[in-house]
């Protein structure tokens, strides 16, 4: 909560002064959260760092037009979630990981190797974008459902439904392998 207030204050100062030092302070404050959130989607630290850079640039450009309709943190998390999903989409379209995630044989071989964590990661990857977003924000980042609805711009009941379906799908995916 303190962090959120500090962030709001820094954003106000930045909007008045447009000072790079203040922006650096903002980045320092959100750096770990953004990287952790991006990492939850990509499972790759370098990718998460790339996403952080992209998100930072978007924040820099967007802050000047930011009208404070939503909370700054919700806005930043929304940018991060969307940037992560876009990043995954681009990566997948480059077919680098396409086969790795789609082939069920791969999952079976993982079971044989009893690499449970890896299977779960892949199961998360197989969720729909909205289910993935909701699950990651709730389960890995412990956001309240009302906050998730703010970040994703949907209703709380929709978040609850996506969360339930995501967990059902994850259980099914893990069971079937």
């Amino acid at each position: 909560m303190e962090k959120e207030k500090l962030l709001e204050r820094l954003v106000d100062e930045f909007l008045q002064d447009n000072n790079e030092k203040i922006f650096a302070q903002i980045l320092s404050l959100i750096c770990e959260d953004v990287i952790n959130l991006a990492y939850s989607f990509t499972y790759n630290l370098e990718d998460a760092k790339d996403i952080f850079q992209e998100v930072s640039l978007k924040i820099y450009r967007g802050l000047k037009k930011f009208k404070k309709r939503a909370k700054v943190t919700s806005w930043i998390y929304r940018i991060t979630v969307n940037a992560s999903i876009d990043y995954l989409r681009k990566r997948r379209s480059s077919s680098e990981l396409k086969e790795e995630y789609i082939k069920s044989n791969d999952i079976i071989s993982d079971i044989e190797r009893k690499d449970k964590e890896r299977i779960l990661k892949k199961a998360v990857e197989r969720l729909s974008p909205q289910q993935k977003k909701v699950f990651i924000l709730k389960h890995y980042h412990h956001f309240k459902i009302c906050k998730i609805s703010q970040i994703l711009g949907c209703s709380e009941s929709s978040v609850k439904t996506h969360l339930t379906r995501a967990i059902e799908n994850l259980r099914r995916l893990v069971k079937c392998v």
Binding site: S56, E117, H139, I145, T164, I167
Partner: protein
């Protein structure tokens, strides 16, 4: 009545109000079936762990430095683009003013031209009609007299 999957999941995350929380707790104490289902969900969700990324101060600083340098480059580009855009806008305004002046002169010239043309036509017509008056012949005078007699032959 047994709890739904959704209710069990929301109970796991403590995303229900106090009243419901107490109700679900009581229900799970009394219903073995629901308790078993809840334990399964709980076990599954607890198994989904994720390591938290902790960055060193140096890593953070490097990342932020990179971002700031990118911002600097992009703002330089934006400045150049703005300068080009300003020049373009100035040139566009200048050419628009030029076109407007040209159109004004053109329309004025056209109007004057058509006025001169009308005057010259009127002048020619005037010359022609004065010539016609001068060239009235004897036959024309006879025709005129006949016409006068013809009209005079009527009783009134």
């Amino acid at each position: 009545m047994c709890l739904s999957k959704k209710e069990l999941i929301l109970f796991f995350y403590k995303e229900v109000d106090e009243e419901k929380l107490a109700y679900y707790k009581r229900h799970l104490e009394s219903c073995k079936k629901c308790l078993m289902r809840f334990k399964e969900i709980e076990k599954f969700l607890l198994s989904l762990k994720k390591e938290k990324i902790a960055l060193s101060e140096e890593e953070k600083e490097e990342l932020i430095r990179n971002v700031l340098s990118k911002i600097e480059v992009s703002s330089e580009r934006i400045k150049i683009f703005d300068r080009i855009r300003e020049k373009f806008i100035f040139l566009a305004r200048l050419s628009l003013a030029g076109v407007a002046v040209f159109l004004c002169i053109f329309f004025f010239w056209q109007a004057k031209k058509s006025q001169d043309k009308e005057f010259s036509i009127l002048e020619t017509e005037m010359i022609l009609s004065s010539k016609e008056l001068d060239e009235i012949t004897v036959f024309d005078e006879e025709d005129l007299e006949n016409e006068v007699l013809f009209f005079a032959s009527f009783p009134y």
